[in-house]
């Protein structure tokens, strides 16, 4: 394994970890509940590690992407429902990311918001059309690393480390309200967004992973996502230490950047805005490509960013259509943060349908041979499947009871 390849893989995994939903929910969780929901971040991070590692391993060993497994293992009806739901969630997430990028550009350039949505659409279209898969991953993943400014800001703001440590475990004596549960479920969902698993496994096949890349997959997932989780935890910290005492709700990407600006002035502000630009832009690309991957894999069309467009017609048309529809949703004027709140809650509902086929195949020795799950991967896989099923069942009632997290 080449050191540079591993290093880049880890950095891009870290830089691509956070997107608009995770940013919003981590900052808001910190602002409203201080460190008390911090434990959800490592819980969700380990969950996404477990399933991305499995999906990446299946991609490396058998070149099978997630939605091929969903179709073959979940039965046609459930697979079709999962496909439709995943397309809807991807579309909403993509719309929120496009809206987020446009809001950032609006802050910097001052041009009309709707015009900037159209400019963002054109930019993303051109990037995906002309830039190779590897370079898209690198540009947006490494650019997203600018968000490290939030990690430094969280330390700079001087948190009470004993409270941080207490937050790493749920408080058994606390009197939880429905709002606490809603935020815990939403935070978990924002970290374990389903498109990440679809994109990660399909990306492994795009990068032509072989069984010898199982080690690379493990390192990228475990180290890269752990660092990404640290970044997410630092956003809870900025929410706690900066937004909490000031009673400011970070309801827009611009407001979120204030935390970094408070610590490091103009440089902090620019780094935060730059990091968010790449993180949201990268997530918009990943969600649109995920939709195309899912459709093509479900229907058996030729797919892949590496293929000439003329040989993957419907796949190409699908990612263009996702961008176009997401742009229309963003143009409707709905706040991107509102869109993302709904997409995150609906995401957790489809997670069990996505994860079960992955777990079934990864643990099947007839299919995976020596690369099948060991006892630890199986135990963690089942634990998270039960957890997200419970979260999925609770998500919609919690959304209604809390009026979308407003209490």
């Amino acid at each position: 394994m080449k050191f540079a390849e591993i290093f880049l893989g880890i950095l891009t995994a870290m830089g691509g970890f956070v997107e608009i939903g995770e940013l919003t929910f981590t900052l808001n969780a910190g602002q409203q509940f201080a460190w008390s929901l911090l434990w959800v971040v490592p819980l969700g991070t380990i969950g996404i590690m477990v399933y991305c590692e499995m999906a990446g391993r299946i991609a490396a060993v058998r070149s099978r992407p997630v939605f091929a497994l969903v179709r073959e293992r979940a039965g046609f009806d459930s697979a079709l429902l999962t496909l439709i739901a995943s397309l809807a969630v991807n579309l909403l997430t993509c719309a929120a990311e496009i809206g987020g990028v446009a809001l950032l550009l609006h802050l910097v350039l001052g041009s009309p918001y709707r015009l900037l949505i159209l400019a963002t659409f054109a930019m993303l279209l051109l990037v995906v059309w002309f830039v190779s898969f590897k370079w898209i991953e690198r540009i947006f993943g490494l650019g997203g690393l600018l968000l490290i400014v939030f990690l430094v800001a969280a330390v700079y703001l001087g948190p009470d480390w004993s409270k941080v440590a207490q937050g790493l475990l749920p408080d058994a004596n606390a009197r939880e309200t429905v709002l606490d549960f809603f935020y815990a479920v939403a935070l978990l969902s924002s970290i374990m967004l389903p498109y990440e698993t679809y994109f990660y496994a399909s990306g492994g096949i795009e990068d032509e992973w072989k069984p010898s890349d199982v080690g690379l997959n493990r390192l990228v997932v475990f180290v890269g996502f752990a660092l990404g989780g640290l970044l997410a935890a630092s956003l809870v910290g900025v929410g706690t230490e900066y937004f909490g005492p000031r009673q400011i709700e970070p309801q827009s990407p611009g407001a979120a950047a204030l935390g970094a600006a408070h610590a490091f002035g103009e440089t902090g502000l620019l780094l935060a805005l730059g990091g968010m630009f790449f993180a949201f832009g990268g997530a918009a690309i990943e969600t649109s490509l995920s939709s195309a991957y899912n459709l093509a894999q479900f229907a058996g069309w030729p797919w892949g960013k590496h293929l000439p467009r003329r040989h993957a017609g419907r796949f190409t048309l699908s990612w263009i259509a996702t961008f176009a529809l997401a742009t229309l949703v963003a143009l409707s004027g709905v706040n991107p943060v509102t869109i993302v709140e709904y997409s995150i809650v609906f995401s957790v509902v489809i997670l069990p349908f996505t994860y079960f086929p992955v777990l079934a195949v990864a643990s099947d020795r007839n299919i995976m041979g020596d690369h099948a799950n060991g006892w630890l991967a199986n135990a963690l896989g089942w634990f998270y499947l039960v957890l997200i099923t419970a979260a999925g069942i609770a998500a919609l009632p919690l959304l209604v009871l809390t009026q979308g997290g407003r209490g």
């Binding site: 046609f76 009806d77 059309w129 069309w301 017609g313 190409t316």
Partner: protein, 116 residues
């Protein structure tokens, strides 16, 4: 005599991806056509397309699917199949079997654009 591993049509064939002789994906096994032979039931053909998969949906969804996607389906005789593993390999090109028509049509249109 070596005992053959049982072949489960629902698990090992239905919904699996079809690839043509050039390894190009060209649909999924949306349904299976069976026929009576002197040895009992046997697979006669693989069915591909909305006309095949819509039949597997509940009544209301079936009507909706047919209204949106039509009733088109392609029948691939079982003699066309050369290998059944993760994917089902066919001995002809997709175009010869009438599969992947829309992909090629969209592809020809996209080919007019730069870097396609």
């Amino acid at each position: 005599m070596k005992k053959l591993k049982p072949f489960d049509l629902a698990r090992d064939l239905l919904d699996h991806e079809l690839v043509d002789v050039d390894e190009v994906p060209c649909g999924r096994v949306d349904d299976i056509e069976l026929e009576h032979t002197s040895h009992g039931l046997a697979v006669a053909a693989l069915l591909v397309g909305p006309g095949a998969w819509a039949q597997r949906l509940p009544a209301l969804a079936r009507i909706g699917a047919r209204a949106v996607f039509g009733r088109g389906r392609v029948r691939v005789p079982i003699d066309e199949v050369t290998r059944i593993e993760d994917v089902v390999q066919l001995r002809s090109r997709a175009a010869q079997l009438g599969l992947g028509i829309l992909d090629r049509r969209v592809g020809r249109w996209l080919a007019r654009l730069p870097r396609s």
